[in-house]
């Protein structure tokens, strides 16, 4: 009996907390079922882009419609949602998507990475290690990593089917021949489970190693291009490289001006028109948690000096 009354309570909570006149989590159930079926196939074929019938959402393509549709199809009343945009919880895109789901699905929202059951992200993976049972949903603008090299969908499909990825390495080789190193710094292509080459969405290559053997499920949604793809937990994700030019991530000589971290991804912030700048953590929650624990950075931006440009 207790189980039944628990269910009923949840059901009424659902009606109470969600916006009147809208479906739960905005999408209708028919659409959700279609996206759910696509998501399951995406999980079963790691790194393969499954086409789906992307719907029009109440915001333009390019603002995270793919990620929102994936989140809307998986989210339930018991979930806790975190949304980040370039690592920050407090930017326009993140705030609005969080509010959208708080209104339409009645879910709890959080800024704390470890409290979230679903994390929707635009272009970053949080610094805190993700756990098993968490799901990270990426917003993807262009899902096809081969598109810049081969514009024909028919051809890229064949290349994926035959793991015919020589051209990707030629691209990286040309980069090395021109500049002495691979200069691609974001959206750095990865190979999933030794088969599909996949676009990790425009995350900095700093985040690529986090995708490898991640305990959390990774789902990718591209709304305009109508593709869903996935990486199951504990799956090999390898950034493309060469034996004599192994994959490398960015590093900084500075530390975060606010929390002093020297291990996180840093954003450069220009603070005046005289060239003063400071470096701060891109992951706002990671930075705030460190500061709450008493960590301190060098603080105010240093003054611009002539020797800086020499």
């Amino acid at each position: 009996m207790t189980a039944i009354s628990g269910e009923q309570k949840k059901s009424s909570r659902l009606k109470e907390k969600t916006l009147d006149g809208y479906n739960f989590a905005y999408l209708d159930d028919q659409t959700k079922r279609m996206i759910r079926r696509a998501t399951l196939k995406a999980v079963a074929i790691p790194g393969y882009q499954v086409p789906f019938g992307s719907r029009e959402m109440p915001l333009p393509f390019g603002w995270g419609t793919g990620g929102i549709q994936v989140t809307a199809s998986i989210i339930g009343i018991d979930d806790t949602l975190k949304v980040i945009d370039q690592g920050a919880d407090d930017t326009t895109n993140a705030v609005n998507i969080r509010r959208f789901f708080a209104k339409t699905a009645g879910v709890e929202t959080t800024e704390n990475t470890s409290d979230a059951s679903i994390i929707q992200t635009r272009h970053r993976i949080p610094e805190a290690k993700l756990k098993s049972d968490q799901i990270i949903v990426y917003q993807v603008p262009i899902p096809e990593p081969l598109r810049w090299i081969e514009p024909r969908e028919e051809e890229t499909r064949k290349m994926h089917a035959l793991t015919e990825y020589g051209v990707m390495h030629v691209g990286l080789y040309e980069n090395i021949a021109h500049f002495g190193k691979v200069t691609t710094s974001y959206n750095y292509p990865v190979q999933v489970n030794d088969h599909y080459v996949m676009s990790p969405s425009p995350i900095p290559k700093f985040d690529n190693p986090k995708m490898d053997e991640m305990p959390a499920l990774q789902l990718f949604g591209a709304g305009r291009e109508k593709r869903i793809y996935a990486v199951p937990p504990y799956t090999k994700v390898k950034s493309l490289d060469f034996e004599d030019h192994p994959f490398e991530i960015e590093s900084w000589s500075e530390c975060c001006a606010l929390c002093g971290s020297s291990s996180s991804f840093l954003d450069e912030v220009i603070t005046d028109d005289k060239g003063s700048r400071m470096f701060v953590c891109s992951d706002s929650n990671f930075c705030a948690n460190r500061r709450a624990k008493g960590h301190k950075g060098p603080g105010l931006p240093r003054k611009f000096e002539i020797k800086d440009i020499e």
């Binding site: 189980a3 269910e7 759910r36 998501t39 399951l40 196939k41 998986i74 499909r157 035959l162």
Partner: protein, 207 residues
């Protein structure tokens, strides 16, 4: 209105989800969990009833994933109680040949799989999802699973599934990215074996 004109014997007495939106989401998350972490077992807690021989978990999976867009093949006659139940609650399309189906449901595990859609190299996602109902599901060391979604290895035991079926599955999945994804159900339990999961049979004393 069309529904009202249907002869009443097409309306099943067994119930589906009380609250389809809320309950199908919970069931889907369980399917997503077992599909992304093959060999894990989840329990369905919904209070739906299904006509024999359909078990609760099988019914929950079907009601969650199927609708008028899905072609389904059952190893039961077209006029069985189960097809009536599924047609009424989901509006699915029952097909004559297993090779046309998006979902293939076995209420008793076959020795070998019938002709199935394995998808194509360019569109592997069109492959069929096979739902197999078994006598019991647990983590006894009968099948050793490795692959994406599994940290090192995981064990699974699905009772009453003949070895020949696993061999057949292995052959189909050697054509990766083509292949078949299996959802296993047993009373209220649920597990899955996507095409990427490698299965090794553990030898017992009986051989």
């Amino acid at each position: 209105m069309a529904l009202l004109q249907e002869p009443t014997d097409n309306i099943p007495v067994e119930t589906g989800f009380d609250d389809p939106v809320y309950e199908s989401q919970i069931v889907f998350r369980k399917i997503l969990k077992v599909m992304s972490e093959p060999g894990t077992i989840k329990k369905i807690k919904n209070k739906l009833s299904a006509p024999a021989p359909m078990m609760k978990a099988t019914a929950a999976v079907c009601l969650t994933l199927m609708d008028f867009q899905t072609k389904v093949w059952l190893d039961l006659p077209r006029d069985s109680e189960v097809s009536k139940y599924l047609k009424f609650h989901t509006g699915l399309r029952i097909v004559e040949h297993s090779s046309e189906a998006d979902f293939v449901v076995f209420f008793s595990a076959p020795d070998e799989l019938p002709p199935l859609n394995l998808g194509t190299d360019e569109n592997p996602e069109t492959a069929a999802t096979v739902i197999i109902q078994t006598q019991s599901l647990d983590d006894t060391k009968k099948l050793k699973l490795t692959g994406p979604g599994i940290k090192k290895s995981r064990f699974l035991n699905a009772e009453n599934i003949p070895t020949s079926l696993w061999d057949h599955r292995g052959k189909a999945n050697s054509l990766f990215p083509k292949g078949i994804d299996i959802i296993l159900t047993s009373s209220e339990k649920l597990s899955a074996l996507p095409r990427t999961t490698k299965i090794k049979m553990i030898k017992t004393e009986k051989g």
